[in-house]
Amino acid sequence: MLYVELLAQGLVQGSIYALVAVGLTLVYGLLRILHVAHAGLFTLGGYIGVLVTNATGSLFLALIVSMMVVGVLGMAIYRLCYQPILDKPPYVALIASIGLFIAMEEIYRIVFGPYGISYQNPPLQSSVEILGLSLRMGEVAVGGGTLVLIGALALFSTKTRFGTVWRATVTDPDMAESFGVDIIKVRYLNFFIGSALAAVAGVMVALLNNLVEPTMGSVPSYKALAIIVLGGLGDVRGTLLAALALGVIEAFGTIYLGNYLDRDAIAFAFLILVLMVRPQGLFGRA
């Protein structure tokens, strides 16, 4: 029974990693930028979620507002921060992104206070029994929500015209452009979708912990980087699998390795181990 519970916990945690990491891997696939500031958007998503829920009482409305605002901000970050330095060596964008992320966390601390904010009436706190497992509604919502969103993303990218254009641009930007694709528009869309997914993850984490604090993005940020590397950088399917795998490995690792390594170190030990054997990532192509 312990195993099943650990597995379930791991999958819930993994879903959150997946939502954050998909946005990162989309940006990397398109622009070859490690978008560390993505986790700043995740945190902002959590803040907006809690603030709007407390103001209106509707979690659903909060989710929508959070996705829209954070999505648009993601597009602004692309336009104002990344577009002007795309032709520079890759470390330039990486370091700029780290700087931006640190500054964002500090701004949240200054604006919203260092101790974080919580839901006045936390929604989805009741628990349900599924297959003999007692789960909180929030955890079920996280798992289900992730499944729905990722499914919608998969449908959008394979079944719609814009989705096809998007995938074509990721595969070969020059070729896509010569076929008349407006690649700038694709990039905006890319940042909007990725950032909106991070916002959802932020709202969900806020729900699970009933707390949003300025630094809540730090750990997911670094782990999401590890995940997209494991997934083979830019590979969405690999990223999803790596996110779920990491969630499960952490859940088990905390029990069995907890005396030697803390939870965060387990993820990176796994990452380093994998990279030494497969430098292109678990699911990356050589």
């Binding site: 990397y28 070859r32 490690l34 921060c81 002007p84 330095i85 520079k88 060596p89 890759p90 470390y91 330039v92 964008a93 990486l94 370091i95 700029a96 780290i98 700087g99 931006l100 992320f101 640190i102 500054a103 964002m104 966390e105 500090e106 701004i107 200054i110 730090s218 670094y222 980087l225 590890a226 590397v229 950088l233 907890g258 005396n259 030697y260 390594l261 803390d262 965060d264 170190a265 387990i266 993820a267 990176f268 030990a269 990452l271 380093i272 990279l275 030494m276 430098p279």
Partner: protein
């Protein structure tokens, strides 16, 4: 002594340690173009080594040598990673090394776990004596950096930073030079860490976290990647600014983050790049600015 107050002496000591630490990263990231997001781990390895050795009764010199050797040895192991993975993969791997170091230190009771190590022996030289020791080591580090930059090895580093594949084609033993850069850079970080440990006399895992890694990277980047004097200037200013002005301490991270971002966004060559541009209108290329 020397007409300096105790406060000024400790300020100069911290400044000197920061300069050595920043120059150590400059060897790896600046000269050889290998980005590291986990450099604070080696600073930490040095600090812990020297702290444990001197607490076990060894003299200060042995503690410092132990710190240099251990940090350098682990640095070579991490250097092997740089032979396996490149660019963005390397950045994430080194970041992972940083977190791994923290994770191990937090759980390892022998080195105090979360509580850290307290009661680390002082240098035995008194505050002014220790400051002079640190400044002496700063001078040695600076001279070494300048010499290295103009040596055959420095030119090879430069070639590898610019374009690793081309460097390999013209017959440079890229792997050996990369390992050398990691070995020297991490050993030097170990030295800086040892000095830090005997200066503050208390260390815990949090002193060597991701923020420290980014802080030292900020010094290198803001000074100008690869520029010795730019990095010295940035390290000196950024390390004492928060101590000098309490107001800045509160907003230290905002300042670092903002500066990092603004520097990359508007002048990727750092202060050295700006200085170069101002002094010569012809300058179009950033000095020593290799690709990561």
């Amino acid at each position: 002594m020397l007409g300096l107050s105790g406060y000024e002496i400790s300020l100069i000591t911290s400044m000197g340690i920061a300069v050595i630490f920043a120059l150590s990263l400059n060897l790896i990231t600046g000269f050889c173009g290998q980005i590291s997001l986990g450099h604070a781990a080696f600073y930490g390895i040095g600090a812990y080594s020297s702290a444990m050795l001197t607490k076990a009764g060894m003299p200060l010199a042995m503690g410092m040598i132990g710190a240099v050797v251990l940090a350098g040895a682990i640095g070579i192991v991490v250097g092997f990673a740089s032979l396996r993975v490149r660019h963005d993969f390397l950045a994430i791997t080194t970041m992972g090394v940083g977190f791994l170091f923290l994770g191990v230190m937090r759980q390892w009771d022998f080195v105090g776990g979360e509580m850290g190590v307290s009661g680390i022996p002082g240098s035995g030289l008194g505050k002014p004596g220790f400051m002079i020791l640190v400044l002496g080591l700063v001078v040695v580090t600076v001279l070494f950096s300048l010499h290295l930059k103009r040596s055959w090895m420095g030119f090879s580093f430069d070639a590898i930073a610019d374009d690793e594949d081309t460097a390999r084609v013209i017959g440079l033993d890229v792997s050996r030079y990369k390992l050398a850069a990691f070995a020297m850079g991490t050993a030097l970080a170990g030295l800086a860490g040892a000095l830090y440990a005997h200066n503050v006399r208390f260390i815990d895992p949090e002193s060597f976290g991701f923020v420290e890694s980014i802080t030292v990277l900020a010094m290198v980047v803001i000074g100008g990647i690869g520029s010795v004097f730019g990095v010295i200037f940035a390290a000196a200013v950024l390390s004492v600014l928060p101590l000098w002005i309490q107001f800045i301490d509160e907003y230290k991270l905002l300042l670092y983050g903002g500066l990092l971002f603004a520097m990359m966004r508007f002048s990727p060559g750092g202060l050295a790049g700006i200085a170069q541009k101002l002094s010569s209108r012809k300058a179009v290329k950033v000095p020593g600015g290799g690709s990561a």
